[in-house]
């Protein structure tokens, strides 16, 4: 940024350190505003917040980032006034604090891209000066602020103390790209390693049993175990708490609620849940869309809520929890719920399959072309669309589901893989093409006996665990174009959320942990493929997108 600054190369470090601080300050100001609005004029946390701002000011100054420096300084001044003067603890001042902290967050976040806008910073400083120039009556006989006992303050404290505790254990800072490079190399090692058992088998077939072969077998097995340990150790280095993503939303929801003239409280839970940074980087946008959607369409106005006997303030809850090898993220609102009739009407207009109960109907909102908006003007320019949000989640190998109850609200449940990098897969063969099927989406593999799969109305149907499921031909679904299709000996039962579908394949090749590589944009956005991997023989295999396949229109 500032090429004249000796520490210009440290911009990423500056962002990494200062952004969470600025976000925490913003959150604390939001809580203050809430209290002050409710008439609770306490400001115990402000002493600690002022200290944090002081740190931000100092760090920004070191980096030669004057706009951030002056904004932090101005906020410090406001805090000083708030500590000294009870009369200053009013919503207008809180709004000023929130605005400044928000500006600071934006400036710091963008520090690597473009120089911060000095005009906005100066403007804010001028407004602070004007606000503070008005002396509030009775400011002199204010008792000193009591010792902090405030929650926001405590949280900030905890955040600050966690880091050095780790550091005491010998923490270092590593550019994430280096971890990516490490993973890349690990992936190559895994591919090479996965070729070993085959070589071993061939060697054993040629030489028969001899002590060296037994030795080799042991080494191959031991190596595989070690690679597993290496993998999990490597994965651990890539995990970050989801709070880093959640932190963005407090202010966004507040601003949006204000613009929509609604009263909304955002509650977050499970921020300590760990996820691969590569996933964290890509869930912000879909989550933002779900929250935006909830604020604009899900939540009623305060008056309407009162009429329905609900508290005027709506609650939006964003929570995360770790499952065994997945992470579940839920977005819950207590608004009006989805309009089932409207969705069905739209779906019919789009010629979509509207069978199934209300839950199935609600699932249609992820279809492109459907809108949950009350009026068209509302949607314009907002977010990326539910279909795109769902697509983004699917692209991560995750799933998204919705449940809704009239006037009770909507629950979006996202299930995300812990990591994007390595996928436990079943390798299948269809018309001599090999595909990797994520095991997380495989319910079962079934051997095809005569009369297992029936053709009804040109669709394949099989009984599976007591219910009829659609079974698609792998060759047709994947477009292998083979004229004489090989005998389909198995079908793989894929599932995504509540939906299931069988996929007929020729052969089950085996289980393998594959290193996921993304597809180049030139390949378009296939629905049935989520990525690619390199198999032990060096050939590329596509990774099937179970969610996409289950959602595909039925083919014979």
């Amino acid at each position: 940024m500032d090429s004249g600054n000796a520490f210009g190369d440290l911009t990423q470090d500056y962002i990494a350190e200062c952004l969470p601080l600025a976000e925490a300050v913003t959150d604390a100001f939001l809580q203050l505003e809430r209290r002050w609005r409710e008439g609770d004029a306490e400001a115990d946390s402000v002493v600690e917040l002022k200290r944090t701002l002081h740190t931000l000011k100092g760090n920004s100054a070191m980096m030669g980032l004057r706009p951030m420096q002056i904004v932090a300084h101005a906020l410090e001044d406001v805090c000083a006034r708030v500590v000294a003067d009870v009369a200053a603890r009013k919503p207008e001042i809180a709004a000023l604090l929130i605005e400044g902290a928000g500006l600071l967050v934006d400036q710091i976040r963008g520090a690597a891209e473009s120089p911060a806008d000095p005009v906005r910073a100066e403007g804010f400083v001028a407004r602070v000066a004007a606000a503070l120039a008005v002396p509030t009556p009775g400011s002199r006989d204010v008792p000193p602020a009591p010792e902090p006992a405030d929650r926001a303050g405590l949280r900030l404290e905890r955040r600050r103390s966690e880091r050095p505790a780790d550091a005491a254990g010998g923490m270092i800072r590593v550019d994430f790209r280096r971890l990516d490079a490490l993973l890349e190399i690990f992936g190559e090692a895994m591919i090479e390693q996965s070729a070993l058992p085959e070589v071993y088998r061939r060697l054993a077939a040629r030489c028969g049993s001899c002590p060296e072969i037994g030795e080799l077998d042991r080494v191959v097995v031991a190596l595989r175990a070690t690679m597993k340990r290496l993998e999990s150790a490597l994965m651990d280095t890539r995990l970050l708490p989801i709070a880093t993503v959640f932190a963005r939303f407090n202010r966004l929801v507040r601003d949006l609620a204000q613009a929509e003239r609604k009263q909304i409280r955002l509650v977050t839970e499970g921020g300590e849940t760990l996820l691969d940074k590569a996933i964290l980087d890509r869930i912000g946008e879909p989550l933002l869309h779900l929250l935006t959607n909830a604020v604009i369409h899900g939540v009623e106005s305060a008056e309407e809520r009162l009429r329905q006997g609900k508290p005027p303030e709506a609650t939006l809850m964003l929570s995360a929890a770790a499952l065994s090898d997945r992470v579940m993220v839920t977005v819950v609102d207590d608004g009006r719920g989805l309009d089932t009739e409207r969705i069905l009407a739209q779906a019919r207009a789009l010629d979509l399959d509207v069978g199934g109960g209300a839950d199935a109907a609600h699932g249609l909102i992820f279809q492109p072309g459907l809108s949950t908006a009350e009026s068209v003007s509302h949607v314009a320019g907002r977010g990326i669309g539910l279909a795109a949000a769902a697509a983004a989640i699917h692209a991560l190998g995750g799933s998204i589901e919705v449940r809704s109850r009239p006037s009770r609200g909507v629950v979006f449940t996202l299930t995300l893989p812990l990591t994007l990098a390595i996928l436990r897969s079943l390798i299948v063969e269809v018309d001599q093409e090999r595909y990797a099927v994520p095991l997380s989406h495989v319910a079962e593999t079934v051997r095809v006996e005569p009369n297992t799969v029936h053709a009804i109305d040109g669709r394949g149907v099989a009984m599976w665990r007591g219910s009829a499921i659609n079974v698609a031909d792998g060759g047709a679904l994947l477009g292998t174009g083979a004229t004489h299709s090989a005998p389909r000996n198995y079908f793989v039962v894929l599932f995504s959320g509540p939906r299931r579908r069988g996929l007929l394949v020729d052969r089950l090749v085996g289980h393998q942990d594959v290193v996921v590589k993304s597809l180049d944009p030139s390949l378009g956005r296939p629905d049935v493929v989520s990525g690619a991997t390199i198999l032990g023989d060096g050939r590329v295999a596509c990774i099937l997108d179970a969610t996409g396949i289950v959602a595909q229109r039925e083919v014979a």
């Binding site: 591919i191 093409e433 679904l477 180049d520 378009g524 493929v529 060096g538 050939r539």
Partner: protein, 188 residues
């Protein structure tokens, strides 16, 4: 300036001969160019064949030329994408430029090659029938594509270079790779 040997990095021992070959050709082309017209700005091209036609790409966009290995078809990929291949652990998309230029797709033969190019920070492979040489031509030899060429896949052609008796069609890679896939009118 990019040297030919660096631009066309061979990926394995079996390609060293190719590297030597193009390096020698580049040198020859260079000395020839210097001897005749030192004043005119030079264009470095890699020339390749599709059927009987000769095409050219700016050498600066070429990262390497590789032999054709296993190409995996990708379901639902656009028509002009032949598939993906393993380029030293990376997944490389392989563009069937024959169909992009209105020719029929062909089965790769022993002389077929994949030219790995980098355009707009993206790396893709172009499947060609054969790679002929690296050459330098003066920019004054390049003329806009004549009408008979335009009629076929004019969108993807930036010009035509005349070199002795040869006619080399220069491709506009950016448009060919990133322009929306417009149906190419088939010669009837």
């Amino acid at each position: 300036m990019t040297t030919p040997a660096r631009a066309a990095r061979p990926s394995g021992a079996n390609l060293f001969d190719f590297a030597d070959q193009i390096a020698a050709q580049a040198q020859a082309a260079q000395s020839l160019a210097q001897a005749t017209e030192p004043a005119v700005a030079q264009l470095q091209l890699i020339a390749f064949r599709l059927d009987a036609e000769e095409f050219g790409l700016p050498l600066a966009t070429v990262r390497e030329v590789i032999r054709v290995g296993d190409i995996t078809r990708v379901p639902q990929a656009p028509e002009h994408i032949r598939g993906v291949t393993n380029l030293r652990g990376r997944i490389l998309s392989v563009v069937e430029i024959r169909t992009r230029l209105g020719l029929n797709a062909a089965v790769p033969g022993p002389r077929s090659r994949i030219i790995v190019v980098e355009v707009q920070h993206r790396v893709v492979g172009l499947l060609v029938d054969s790679v002929s040489q690296v050459l330098k031509i003066g920019v004054d030899r390049v003329i806009p594509a004549p009408d008979e060429v335009r009629s076929e896949a004019s969108d993807h052609i930036s010009g035509v270079a005349h070199l002795d008796q040869r006619l080399i069609i220069l491709l506009d890679l950016e448009r060919m790779l990133f322009a929306p896939n417009r149906a190419v009118p088939s010669p009837s």
